[in-house]
């Protein structure tokens, strides 16, 4: 394991300037209200504006409607969007997770069908991994697909399926052959039409009253053979590599960045009086960002920085919570969720939802267990 200092190219810096200019304009014209990282909002309209700029599907090759950019260029764009609190949720999973999975494991037909639509901001995906009895222990999933003529019949229940009520498809992990001693055998990934027959979507209301999560119930839903992602039986390997892509990105430390920005912007003199605290929080973000950028560079050079990514996710998500705790400790008043101050509204929301930062995308405890094994075996 060795993180390295990253240099950016002139092109990458130009790209950043373009995103900054676009976001400043959108903000000024009321195109969006800043929010908290990927929680900022689901806006297909905003996603399509980004797509028109070429900022979705950046890693997709041009032959599939994308832009053939590397992980570092994508990083530069995505961190700007997240730091500014722009609504990226609609295309988030499709762009970050589904597109790379399709490129790695999809058939040519699947790529031709889905990738151009993803890059255009016209096709949105959810992730179907967790189940009522399978959280961190993902290999215990029980949703079952049985082979029938021309495809698979799926029965079972997925939960925490973010955006299933508004997205188009879900890439779902399920069991395609009976359970054997090695639970990692016999799992597969299927692409499921969320509007299809036999698919029922029920809301799981979040503790702040918002609706992002769902329970998705499959009752003998049909998935044609063409919608199998990758190899039947290789689901575990595919899913674990997919998870490592998602771990170390800017979304793991920038969720609460807008809190710091709005605090400094709204409370000028009071914020200046807290220079030490602002400096500490800024330094932490700065240092985690260097690590995350380094992971993006390792991926762009063909590496598989699984441990590095786990460390960044751990540091980043704990930091996001620290921002909330520290900023609240600087206030005398209790933030009102309906306040006219954006800072107060965001803080009120962050206070309630911040425990989720170290749970989603792999709990801190599981990440640390996995990372520790690799650390010890590498020495």
């Amino acid at each position: 394991m060795r993180f390295t200092a990253i240099t950016l190219t002139k092109d990458e810096l130009d790209q950043r300037d373009a995103v900054r200019a676009f976001l400043a304009e959108e903000l000024a014209s009321g195109g969006y209200q800043p929010g908290l990282g990927v929680n900022a909002g689901h806006s297909p309209e905003f996603s399509r504006k980004l797509a028109a700029k070429g900022w979705i599907g950046m890693s997709i090759p041009p032959e599939y409607g994308g832009h053939g950019r590397g992980p570092v260029e994508r990083f530069i764009v995505v961190e700007e969007l997240l730091a500014a609190g722009a609504p990226v949720l609609a295309h988030w999973v499709a762009d970050r997770q589904t597109a790379p999975a399709l490129l790695a494991y999809g058939t040519p037909a699947q790529r031709r069908h889905f990738l151009p639509a993803i890059a255009a901001g016209e096709c949105f995906f959810s992730v179907g991994m967790s189940e009522p009895d399978s959280g961190s222990d993902l290999a215990s999933v029980r949703t079952r697909a049985t082979q029938v003529d021309g495809g698979w019949r799926v029965s079972g229940t997925k939960i925490w399926t973010s955006g299933a009520h508004v997205n188009d498809f879900a890439v779902m992990l399920c069991r395609t052959s009976p359970l054997v001693d090695d639970r990692h055998v016999g799992l597969s990934q299927l692409i499921v039409d969320l509007r299809g027959q036999g698919v029922t979507i029920n809301p799981i209301t979040f503790l702040d009253g918002s609706h992002h999560f769902n329970e998705v119930v499959f009752d003998d839903a049909f998935v044609p053979d063409e919608m199998v992602l990758g190899e039947i039986g290789a689901g575990w390997r595919q899913v674990t590599s997919e998870l490592s892509y998602e771990r170390a990105g800017p979304d793991r430390y920038l969720t609460t960045w807008q809190l710091l920005e709005t605090y400094a912007a709204e409370r000028g003199a009071a914020a200046a009086a807290q220079a030490e605290q602002i400096g500490r929080l800024a330094a932490r973000c700065w240092s985690i960002r260097q690590l995350s950028l380094s992971v993006a560079r390792i991926i762009s050079e063909g590496g598989a920085p699984a441990v590095e990514a786990a460390l960044v996710k751990d540091l980043g998500t704990v930091y996001e919570q620290e921002v909330v705790t520290v900023l609240q400790s600087l206030l005398d008043e209790d933030p009102d969720p309906g306040s006219s101050s954006l800072f107060e509204r965001l803080l009120a929301q962050a206070l309630v939802i911040s425990p989720s930062f170290t749970i989603r995308g792999g709990t801190t405890e599981v990440l640390r267990s996995v990372a520790a094994r690799s650390l010890r075996s590498s020495r």
Binding site: L8, A272, I278, G279, R280, R379
Partner: protein, 357 residues
């Protein structure tokens, strides 16, 4: 310097330090104050003055060469003022157009009560914390005079020295000067912005030292957690210990990379990298605290003995954390800059990156 050259330099240095800064050498140095054989070996190999301009008598090279020397030395807890020689003192001497002394040079740590005045060619004042003040051949410092600031080189023999130490047992001596005559060849002009650059270099020197020490602690602790068995298995296989191990590793990596990024910014931009150095020193202070806590907890009782070398690193980290500005200082400096006046927000400042040429 290419990455390959850097790796070779690190290998060469590692050999020297493995030979001359083994735990037994470090124990002896703690009594005697330093490790002169190690210095002699560096001089013989032409490695003692890496990164110091040839004009001053150094061996040339850039800041990153010097960084490699200092970081590698910290990995071996080398009891010598190498950061003072190649990152601070050598630069001060060269910038004032002076010549390096015949042996190591030190630079006083900033201290609120320090005074140093040059009047009629004579130097008077007290420097409260001078690393290896009584061992080095010269102390390079900035003195006030009626014609403005001057860089001066003082020999310890000319001073009254009250020995002091940091918690790692490294000399941090008080140096008192009473009307000491400074010949012309040992004083030179102060370039514009020199005091500011000295503060930035000082902070960066500690961040780089801390990067090396944290790296050593991480390597050592990961290894120990695999070797030490309790209840019939390696302690690192217990979840509670494994969690600590990962916290240690992530903090050590964060501190290491922060110093590396700041060193590169400094190489490109000098004091233009003051913000990155502030970030890096604040980061090093914070990460070191976590690294020390976790490493000691994982090592258990053995880590609390003098025999086991963990303390060679953790005690140095404790000291370096405070020297040249603690976390509070640099966080405040950075925070003040970030919150000064209405601007474009904090984000653009945080994301000033190194640009490929």
């Amino acid at each position: 310097m290419t990455a390959e050259e850097d790796r070779l330099l690190e290998q060469t240095l590692t050999k020297v330090f493995e030979e001359h800064s083994a735990p037994a050498d470090r124990r002896r140095a703690e009594t005697e104050g330093w490790a002169p054989e190690c210095w002699a070996s560096l001089v013989n190999s032409g490695l003692a003055w890496i990164g110091v301009p040839e004009s001053a008598g150094g061996s040339g090279g850039d800041f990153l060469d010097a960084r490699t020397l200092v970081r590698t030395a910290a990995r071996h807890a080398v009891p010598l003022p190498l950061a003072e020689c190649v990152l601070l003192g050598g630069w001060l001497v060269a910038s004032a157009g002076l010549r390096l002394p015949d042996g190591p040079v030190s630079v006083p740590l900033p201290h609120a009560a320090d005074t140093l005045r040059l009047a009629d060619g004579r130097l008077t004042g007290t420097l409260h914390r001078v690393p290896w003040g009584s061992r080095v051949n010269a102390i390079a410092a900035v003195a006030q005079s009626s014609d403005g600031d001057r860089v001066v080189l003082v020999e310890p023999a000319e001073a009254v020295i009250r020995p002091g130490r940091n918690v790692a047992g490294e000399p941090r001596d008080e140096v008192r000067l009473e009307s000491v005559l400074v010949p012309a060849e040992r004083t030179g002009p102060v370039a514009v912005g020199l005091r500011e650059e000295l503060a930035v270099r000082g902070a960066l020197s500690r961040a780089i030292l801390m990067a090396g020490a944290m790296d050593a602690v991480m390597t050592m602790t990961v290894a120990y957690s695999g070797q030490r068995h309790q209840f019939g298995r390696p302690i690192g296989s217990f979840q509670a210990v494994a969690q600590r191990l990962v916290r240690l590793a992530s903090e050590a990596e964060a501190g290491y990379l922060a110093a590396e990024v700041a060193a590169r910014h400094f190489t490109e931009a000098g004091t233009g990298a003051a913000f990155q150095v502030a970030m890096a020193k604040a980061t090093a202070c914070r990460t070191a605290s976590e690294v020390i806590t976790q490493a000691h907890q994982i090592h258990g009782a053995i880590g609390m003995t003098q025999e086991y070398p963990l303390h060679d690193f953790t005690r140095r980290l404790l000291s370096w954390r405070q020297e040249w500005g603690a976390e509070r200082h640099w966080a405040t400096v950075a925070g003040a800059e970030l919150t000064a006046g209405p601007g474009a927000g904090l984000w653009p400042r945080i994301t000033t990156d190194l640009v490929a040429r």
